[in-house]
Symmetry: C2
Subunit: 383 residues, 2 copies
């Protein structure tokens, strides 16, 4: 195996596949990047057993300056390979497997020899034999993921909640995530592949896989998605991201979304984010991390205190307020992330009582749950 290549093309693709590699892996070969040289080009692969990312560098694309002298496979230590290629002196680099999987990387006068591992020891990528290919518009899909991933749980105790639940069928994609304290839901229209017919796809994709996917894709091209029983494959540009699906049935979350409210306020999401960020300077000091909202006839006050440091309160500017007076306490980090998912929009926040979950909806779309954030309050002695 021997080739030379434009160094920045190699770095760019290496960085993409390294996203799949975990420093905490217990499988030694997965600390490496697999480099496969075939007649048609170069394949780089990184994996942590859940996610695998493969990049293809086309020999026919002149920008890549890829010149293949002989084909073959090798696995090289990911971190060192990355540090080395970033520090090489010239625009071009050469890579050659010499002897006993020892690999020589040269550029100008610098010459590295790295101890590699036989490429055949690297796990094979899953076979994806899917009947349908779904075409996801990149920008909208990125938004769907960003708006729901905030509620993904990082507790491995109930693995199904570490993913986003997708229901795809009847011309739409519905994404739901919950960690049992909060819930995010977003529905987007989606053109169904003809062969799909009435099929409704019901899958749970690990949050981390989606996080890495949206970091890699850029807006210029759609994402293709193919699903099998236990795997999903996303293809964007020259990158293939394979992810294991989470097993199990996602609970029905529709019944959690309340339809009527005792109190409703409408605010600018970004203005309220700023006030919440002021309040959490103090709430983060307390043991409970609680911020309180007091809605009365006169005014709406956000407040927090830390016995040691002091307290904060701020009158909130509202576009509209209606319904009953209310005092409610909550985790300000949840409210902050939920508000941020609305960007510069106005938000309608609907409350039932100080002990029931409250919802955030876009002000211009309050008659459905196409986009909703739900947060469970914290019961406090004073609440």
């Amino acid at each position: 195996m021997k080739f030379s290549i434009n160094r920045s093309v190699f770095i760019h693709n290496l960085t993409d596949v390294q996203r799949a590699i975990s420093s905490r892996t217990t499988i030694p070969v997965l600390t490496g990047v697999k480099i496969s040289v075939k007649e048609e080009g170069l394949y780089l692969t990184g994996s942590d057993a859940t996610i695998s990312i493969e990049a293809f560098i086309d020999a026919k694309d002149d920008d890549n300056k890829l010149k293949i002298e002989s084909t073959g496979d090798i696995v090289l230590p990911s971190r060192f390979l990355g540090e080395i290629v970033k520090k090489l002196p010239s625009d071009m680099m050469n890579l050659e497997v010499v002897d006993n999987f020892q690999t020589e990387i040269t550029s100008d006068r610098a010459s590295f020899t790295l101890n590699g591992i036989n490429g055949s020891e690297y796990p094979r990528l899953p076979e994806i034999d899917a009947k349908q290919t779904y075409i996801l518009p990149t920008d909208t899909f990125k938004q769907v993921v960003n708006q729901t991933i905030i509620s993904v749980s990082n507790q491995e105790i109930r693995p199904i909640f570490t993913g986003i639940h997708f229901e795809i069928g009847n011309g739409e994609l519905k994404a739901v995530a919950t960690d049992s304290h909060r819930l995010s839901q977003r529905i987007m229209p989606l053109t169904m592949p003809e062969s799909a017919g009435d099929t409704v796809l019901d899958i749970n994709i690990p949050g981390r896989s989606l996080q890495e996917l949206i970091r890699i894709v850029d807006s210029n091209e759609d994402i293709e998605m193919m699903v099998t029983d236990n795997q999903v494959l996303f293809k964007a540009r020259n990158i293939y991201l394979y992810s294991r699906l989470l097993e199990g049935n996602y609970p029905n979350t529709d019944r959690l979304l309340p339809n009527d409210h005792a109190t409703i306020i409408e605010v600018s999401a970004s203005e309220l984010v700023n006030a919440v960020e002021r309040a959490l300077i103090l709430s983060h000091e307390g043991k409970n991390n609680v911020v309180r909202l007091n809605i009365s006839d006169q005014d709406i006050i956000l407040s927090s205190q830390s016995a040691e440091v002091g307290n904060v309160e701020e009158e909130i500017n509202v576009v509209k307020a209606e319904g009953e007076a209310l005092e409610i306490s909550f985790n300000p980090d949840y409210l902050r992330e939920a508000l941020k998912s609305f960007g510069q929009q106005n938000v309608q926040i609907g409350f039932q009582s100080s002990s029931h979950p409250f919802t955030l909806l876009p002000s211009d779309q309050t008659d459905n749950f196409n986009f909703v954030q739900l947060i469970t309050p914290i019961r406090t002695p004073r609440g």
Copy 2:
């Protein structure tokens, strides 16, 4: 005590004085910033007992928009004060000590109440009653500090080596630092104050104090320096930095600087830095962090290896090479920092043997020790 002020002026000065505050202090009042309001303006002070930084905000300077309603002192928790003022909503902020050292900070609709400490509990700044004021040109002095501070020791076992030694007299300032593995020396011309006469000032200033000083000063104004028996005061713009001096006699380091060399090479400092940074990717993996330089009639090779990962070698481009063949091993981090202190200059590296310290001098100034970096090699089995 009550005032209002332009918020970004307050933030800017607060950030400067916070540099003196250590999160590891064991003296509770020193976790705070002292705010003193006097008729003439606002004084902010931060301190860790070794360094104290005071900033003066002039009431007469219209840009400060400082409006004083009543004078007084308070100590407020540094970290919270910083987080709060950075997040306040408006361009202006108000601060008022209300009751029992409770302090109200308001801006637009946001209102914080912080638990303060009586200003009288804050330690007094040292009295500086110095006969002379030395005027340090900021840019040159910054360079002197940056070029020598790399050799300051971070081992508290021999406190004197945690500082830079200054000898000031006869029209020059000589700065020396050493951690016993390497040494940095830089001499700069300096206009003596008339009252100084033949006095030679011999002081040891903690490295950290100088580090903070050069972070705060900007190039527009000279730095004034005043020295007493155990304190130094630097004044730059509206900032006063007080530092304790290190006690004890600094050893005579002149005898460590060799005058003759068996082998001399001349290189571009920045080119060699790049090669050293490639070599240390692997040396950092080994237990010993060693890079080797092989100088022969044919070529000059920099190399390093890690049994686990692999090895690297690179032929070094030299402007000039003369003298005996040599193989020498050293800590690449020391060489890297020493080379970086030369910027884009060419450097003459002079060796006596593989076991004697070697020196780096600017190529255009090799007949004196106005600027020299010295590094002790590492003896290896093969060396």
